[in-house]
Amino acid sequence: MRFRYHTRYSDARKLLPWTEGRVAYLLLVLALIAAPFVLQRFWVGELSYIFILAIASLGLMILKGYTGQVSLGPAAFVAIGAYAHALMLDAGVPFAVSLCLTLIISGAAGLMIGLPAIRVSGLSLAMMTLAFAVIVEHVLGRWKTLTGGFSGLPVETPVLFGFRLGTPTAFYFLCLAILIITLLGLVNLMRGPKGRAFVAVRDSEAAAWGLGIDVARTRVEAFVLSSAILGLSGALMAHHVQHLTPEGFGLLLSLELVLMVVIGGLGSLRGALLGAVLIGFLPRLISMAKPLLPAQVSAQFGLEIFAYGLVLAVFVLFEPRGLEGRWQKTKAFLTSFPVYRRDTFRRQKTYMRSERLK
């Protein structure tokens, strides 16, 4: 058993109050730094891809997990970021400048969708974002003079301060650095007033208005922030695939991103990362498992979609709070080992509107 005693309010603001936690994260970072020197080239690329997905997952988590706005078309913003970045590099814009402009451009695209989204929520918003994603994919396919259409757009190698980041290892560190910066920024933002306002808008709009939170504005802000980060991941994605085609940013990518935040655990940045790792590795796990499966099964198309569905169903049934919920329970079990009670995380009866007393 362990209790947290604070002697100062600033103690409560520490990100990692326990020594074990600090050591664990330090080891994780060290392992990630060592990884490209011990892993095969293929896995270095694979890990870079997971980092990119994790950035995108963080972006979507802000929208879905923190403000509760459903988006079924996050891939559209990844695509906008990817194409904007590739085209700017083409036009000779330096890499770092192009990344910053990509944030602004995809954020502006988010504003464009976020403003009309004030009026709708739930299913209508889901439909609107889905339609937007379909439109973006089509425009990218048809606007051949700009995007190269379905034959694609080659992406230049990133050059940062005169260094060409062409090798998988260099690109790996670029992705890792951007992921860590994004994560730290969001951690700070989400535990501050802005993050609290996001959560307020998600859980009760009526109360949020009553406390002086501009609900409409907050929802749009979340849209812009989320899209900007999705766009940033798109810029890195462009370098990862090296040749952009519209199919790369279709509904499958949107589906994967939505699964990451739902399975990761809504309302948690750690959940977004865990979800990205699980969903990102799933296709690899499937291809590794294929030789072990009976021939009739492994020859089937769409095995991945099936696996996504299965994972989602398992989580909805057994762990609605996602990987983050699992994590919390495991941690509670380990730290309170002999006296852990299974009911610690059982929710009190929730009061539905109709059963609350009048």
């Binding site: 600033s10 933002l189 802005k194 609290r196 998600r202 859980d203 109360a207 406390l211 002086g212």
Partner: protein, 252 residues
Amino acid sequence: MSLFEFDAVTLSFGGITAIRNLSFHVEKGEIFAIIGPNGAGKTSVLNVVSRVFDPNEGQIRFDGRDITKVPRKGVADLGIARTFQNLELFERASVIDNLRLGRHRFERGGTWQSLFNLPSHGRREDEAREAVEAIIDLLDLSPWREAMVGSLPYGVRKVVELGRALALEPKLLFLDEPASGLNSEETRDLSFWIEDIRRDLGITIVMVEHDMSLVSAVADRVLCMNLGSRLALGTPSEVQANADVIAAYLGT
């Protein structure tokens, strides 16, 4: 001049008139209760004040200023807080964060400082925490400080909602049925808190309440509404003895 004036206000939803030409005023430092049968329009009065709905006619004044046209998010800045009949809490946030959100009007801006976790941001967070701790002390919420609101029993949630409204540091506090769903012990605590809030924090209180024992215990004056209009206004004993009030409650 009274602190709060409700002047000939009418609110209708299509065919239903929720508030019908209603006038009353609340003095500074008063505890003012609104009673009435279901559907009398009590919650609608609160909703008009917090700008959920535009009144069709009439004027609402606070501190002598017409607030009928302030934007919805601006009501908190005037120093007007409210609670809700059906609890509107931030369920998936901790008690501390719920109370912190009560202070949102003091926490606007500073987004960049928080992004980089600058010392100035830390100081602001600590100050906010101190203000919130005072409320936790007042309402005996310390056992639940870090708990998710969604995991708390009903009685505690009602107290958290009261605390969140206090965190706004209001001049005028509207409570919508604060005692509904509470047991007698919790209701007694509530009546002490309401008196403390008025006496120690100097907050004027308007409460909608069905529990007449609570109303008689704490309220200075009572407004009884029926079908959107004023049926009676006076001290608790006057209103309870009023023939129209008795008739309205018995449904004759």
